[in-house]
């Protein structure tokens, strides 16, 4: 078994990049107290996922000219970007309102929904 980064650039490399991005995003979400930071983490997670989609949908993964997974990864990536934009709009609106009510964007202060 060879080290994965030592071979030719293949799907695994893309997946590694996606995974790194995803992990960074999750960590960002989990550790940031600033709501905007959390939103940024979400973007990272989504983009990590996007890379995966694009990687699986790339041309040369389909050896016989047909998509291996049977779907177009780029289309899915576009949907995700769209969703991310919508989500960002709603989330920013929530954040703005939260700021209006609490004069802060610290998510630790937003615990009104505790049981």
């Amino acid at each position: 078994m060879t080290f994965v980064l030592c071979g030719v650039v293949s799907v695994s490399h893309y997946l590694v990049v996606g995974a790194v991005l995803f992990t960074c995003g999750v960590v960002c979400m989990a550790l940031k107290r600033n709501a905007l930071g959390v939103l940024m983490g979400i973007e990272l997670v989504l983009n990590g996922a996007n890379i995966n989609f694009v990687a699986f949908g790339s041309e040369y993964l389909a050896g016989d000219g047909r998509s291996v997974l049977g779907l177009d990864g780029e289309v899915m990536a576009l949907f995700v970007i769209l969703l991310a934009a919508a989500e960002a709009a709603v989330a920013l609106a929530i954040t703005l309102n939260f700021y209006n009510n609490h004069a802060t964007v610290d998510v630790d202060r937003a615990d009104d929904l505790h049981g």
Binding site: V26, M29, A30, L31, K32, R33, V38, V107, D108, A110, D111, D112, L113, H114, G115
Partner: protein
């Protein structure tokens, strides 16, 4: 004949007008002026209209040219037995009056026989209630001079009483405080006035009584008989809040039911044997045939109206004989022929004689109750609890008259045996009641017992064959007894007490009442100048005495009846004048009562004067045969004018002919006896109560046991109490004990068991079923409480959970399903 069509219409309307008044007051009574004041006007004008129609009917009767018998029956009259039967269903007017029955009957009867009899009657049906092969019930009429006279008497007296009552009952026009009723709080009862209700019941009473008088068959008589009973119950119990009044009303009603039970037996005997209850011949609307009535069946024309046991009763009684015949004889018509042939023989053997006896006795039983004869007379004195106008009506023209009237109406059917029973009942009654009246101190009770006594006279007269005498006395008595009662009402109205011991000297303050009452007293004792002129009672009482004397002459074994009549006349004179002297003469016994006494208003004295006039003249024989006596003579039942000797169940009885009592020695003896006994009674009363020659107290002391016996009214009430009331109460208590001790306990234990089972069930439900449900609920609740701590609301923590969870799932999945991932 015009009278045949006219009379049923006139009397029928006169009969129905009080019903209309009753209905009007029933529905609109409270709206008739203030406190129903107008009800008196309505009822009075209704009965006044009836009086007018009755008078027209009387005129029509006399104008119709009915043969007027001479008072002494010297020459014979052709018998005219006319029976007109008309049937018109559903209409009061006899539309189609069938003449064949009339002309045939007239033709055959007039030529048939010569008798000292003239009996004219009209009968027919207005409406058939029910008709089957064996029974025909209808609303019909039977009109003869007795009917017409009774109509006039009843409506006249009722009119006077209505006018009088409008004054007497004025207390009821506003709210009444009845001091005789103590409420639980100790205060006297305060109630609304019931003026209109009084007149409502009075109208119904008149309607019922007129219904009995006009009735064409026994079933109709029975209906109105019961209606009279219920009306008396209403009126005697008018002050029903008073315990004594409601008890008296119930007593009158229950005692009358005892008599009516006998009447029902009589009705069943007649119907079972004869299949008809009609008095006269009537047309059956279904078959258009003239069916013979009771009178024709018992006294058939072809038998010269002589009484015989009807075929129906003979066949009814000879059922066992017929069964024997039928045993070997299949043909129906043959059997019928054979039975018909055997009937005269059976009649000779006495078959059916007992049935006729029982039928007559049963009907008489009803009359004993209504007319207050021994042993059912106890209700009448108690009926004094009603307002005085009611007493006057009950005692003169309606209730008690109904019994005597029915005996008179039913006379042709009564056998000599029944008549003997009637005579003895009357005799015993008149004696007992007269003796009780001697010691009574309540002014109304004296009059009540005198009524019972006079009714005894009437019954006795009918029983000894004095048909005219008895009914004549019924009519004259109606006038003077209503007069006496209204006078006593006037006295009570003035003194506010019934007790004669508190009265005295009232002649000065109440002249109208006193003098009219004196006329009443003279009339009831039969005062008069012998052989010249007298009060109405003089004629009727003499007729009774003469008939009783004649009867005891022809039947020496029954001469005790004459002694009762003569002795009764003496006692009557004594207690009536005792009453008058104690009330009006002498000096006042109670100064307080005397000072408050006053003459009654004119609305009350006017009827007194009107009645007083009739109490004087009712017995007079007017020229042209217009007297009551000769009018009654026109309707003497066919076949009763001759003396008849029969060997009856109760031995040989000779029923003397009534006209024989009018002649010679009998008449003179009777008149003198009546005069002397009455005179003796008046003198004795005067000696004891007017001039204190004999002290009543001393007499009472000297004859202590007798006095106590009479004060306690022969202990009859006590006897009935022991014989009937106490055993009934005992049985009732026993049954009630069974009810409470056995049945109630059984039910209670059942209920207790059910309760126990139910409580076990409830425990199971509470503990087990509810427990399971509650445990499930509380577990969920507690889990929720614990789990809610997970929800911290911290966003970053959630993210951490997601991440850690995802990783954990991934690791677990990798470990568990290594093969599938490892490829």
């Amino acid at each position: 004949m015009a009278a045949a069509q006219l009379l049923p219409i006139l009397l029928g309307i006169a009969w129905l007008i009080p019903l209309a008044s009753f209905v009007a007051i029933l529905f609109f009574g409270t709206r008739m002026g203030a406190h129903g004041k107008g009800a008196a006007t309505v009822a009075t004008s209704a009965i006044g209209a009836s009086l007018f129609l009755s008078l027209v009917a009387l005129v029509a009767w006399t104008m119709a040219g009915h043969p007027v018998p001479s008072p002494h029956h010297d020459e014979g009259h052709a018998s005219v037995m006319k029976t007109d039967a008309g049937q018109s269903s559903g209409s009061v007017q006899p539309v189609a009056f069938r003449s064949p029955g009339l002309s045939d009957a007239e033709g055959s009867h007039v030529s048939g026989h010569e008798e000292h009899v003239s009996s004219i009657s009209y009968s027919g049906d207005w409406y058939t209630l029910y008709a089957s092969r064996s029974l025909r019930l209808s609303i019909g009429w039977y009109i003869d001079s007795l009917t017409v006279l009774m109509f006039v008497v009843v409506t006249f007296i009722a009119t006077c009483i209505h006018i009088y009552a409008a004054g007497y009952m004025h207390d009821e026009l506003h709210d009444v405080t009845d001091s005789e009723v103590q409420l639980a709080t100790g205060e006297p009862l305060h109630r609304e006035g019931r003026f209109h209700r009084f007149f409502q019941a009075l109208s119904l009473f008149c309607f019922s009584m007129l219904g009995i008088v006009i009735a064409g068959n026994l079933a109709m008589v029975f209906i109105f008989w019961e209606l009279v009973g219920i009306c008396s119950w209403f009126l005697i119990g008018f002050y029903f809040e008073r315990h004594s009044a409601s008890t008296a009303a119930n007593k009158a009603f229950i005692v009358n039911r005892v008599g009516d039970f006998g009447m029902l037996i009589g009705l069943m005997a007649l119907w079972g044997g004869l299949g008809t209850l009609h008095f006269g011949d009537s047309v059956n609307s279904a078959t258009d045939q003239v069916e013979p009535g009771l009178f024709e069946l018992v006294r058939p024309a072809e038998n010269h109206h002589e009484q015989q046991v009807p075929d129906g009763l003979v066949v009814f009684a000879a059922a066992d004989q017929i069964e024997k015949m039928a045993a070997g004889n299949p043909s129906r018509s043959e059997l019928r022929r054979e039975v018909a042939a055997a009937v005269p023989g059976w009649r000779e053997q006495g078959y059916g004689r007992w049935l006729l006896f029982v039928a007559g006795l049963g009907i008489f039983c009803g009359c004993v109750g209504k007319s207050a004869q021994v042993p059912l007379f106890v209700w009448l004195p108690d009926a004094m609890e009603g307002p005085t106008p009611v007493s006057a009506l009950v005692h003169s023209a309606t209730m008690v008259a109904a019994g005597v009237y029915l005996v008179g109406r039913f006379f042709p059917v009564l056998t000599p045996d029944v008549l003997l029973v009637i005579a003895y009942t009357g005799g015993v009654t008149l004696f007992i009641a007269a003796t009780i009246a001697i010691t009574a101190t309540d002014i109304k009770r004296v009059l009540a017992y005198s009524t019972v006594s006079q009714l005894g006279y009437m019954m006795l007269a009918l029983g000894v064959g004095g048909w005219v005498a008895g009914l004549f006395h019924l009519i004259t008595h109606a006038f003077f007894k209503s007069l006496l009662f209204l006078c006593s009402g006037s006295v009570i109205h003035a003194c506010h007490t019934n007790d004669m011991r508190k009265m005295g000297g009232l002649l000065k303050v109440m002249p109208y009442t006193a003098w009219t009452m004196l006329i009443g007293c003279l009339a009831i004792i039969g005062a008069g100048v012998p052989f010249v002129l007298g009060f109405s009672g003089y004629y009727s009482k003499d007729a009774i005495l003469a008939q009783a004397l004649l009867f005891s002459r022809t039947n020496p074994q029954h001469s005790v009846l004459y002694v009762a009549v003569a002795g009764g006349a003496f006692i009557t004179a004594f207690y009536m004048f005792r009453l008058w002297f104690m009330t009006f003469a002498g000096s006042p016994r109670d100064q307080h009562v005397f000072e408050h006494a006053h003459e009654s208003p004119r609305v009350m004295t006017a009827p007194l004067v009107a009645l007083a006039v009739f109490a004087v003249v009712a017995g007079w024989a007017l020229p042209g045969g217009l007297g009551v006596e000769s009018l009654l003579e026109q309707s003497r039942p066919a076949g009763t004018a001759e003396a008849i000797t029969t060997a009856g169940i109760l031995g040989n009885i000779t029923l003397p002919a009534e006209h024989e009592s009018h002649v010679g020695a009998i008449h003179v003896t009777a008149t003198l006896t009546a005069f002397l006994t009455a005179l003796a009674g008046v003198l004795l009363a005067a000696a004891m109560y007017l001039k204190p020659l004999v002290s009543p107290v001393a007499v009472a002391h000297a004859a202590r046991p007798i006095y106590t016996f009479l004060v306690h009214r022969w202990y009859v009430d006590e006897l009935y109490n022991v014989l009937f009331v106490l055993p009934t109460l005992g049985v009732a208590r026993f049954i009630s004990a069974i009810d409470t001790q056995v049945i109630d306990r059984l039910i209670n234990s059942l209920a207790w068991t059910a309760r126990q089972i139910a409580s076990v069930d409830a425990w199971f439900d509470r503990v087990v079923v509810d427990g399971i449900v509650n445990v499930a609920g509380s577990v969920t609740w507690k889990a929720g409480l614990e789990l809610k701590r997970v929800q911290t609301g911290n966003l970053r923590q959630y993210v951490m959970f997601i991440v850690v969870g995802t990783v954990a799932i991934f690791v677990l999945a990798t470990l568990l399903f290594r093969t599938s991932f490892a490829g």
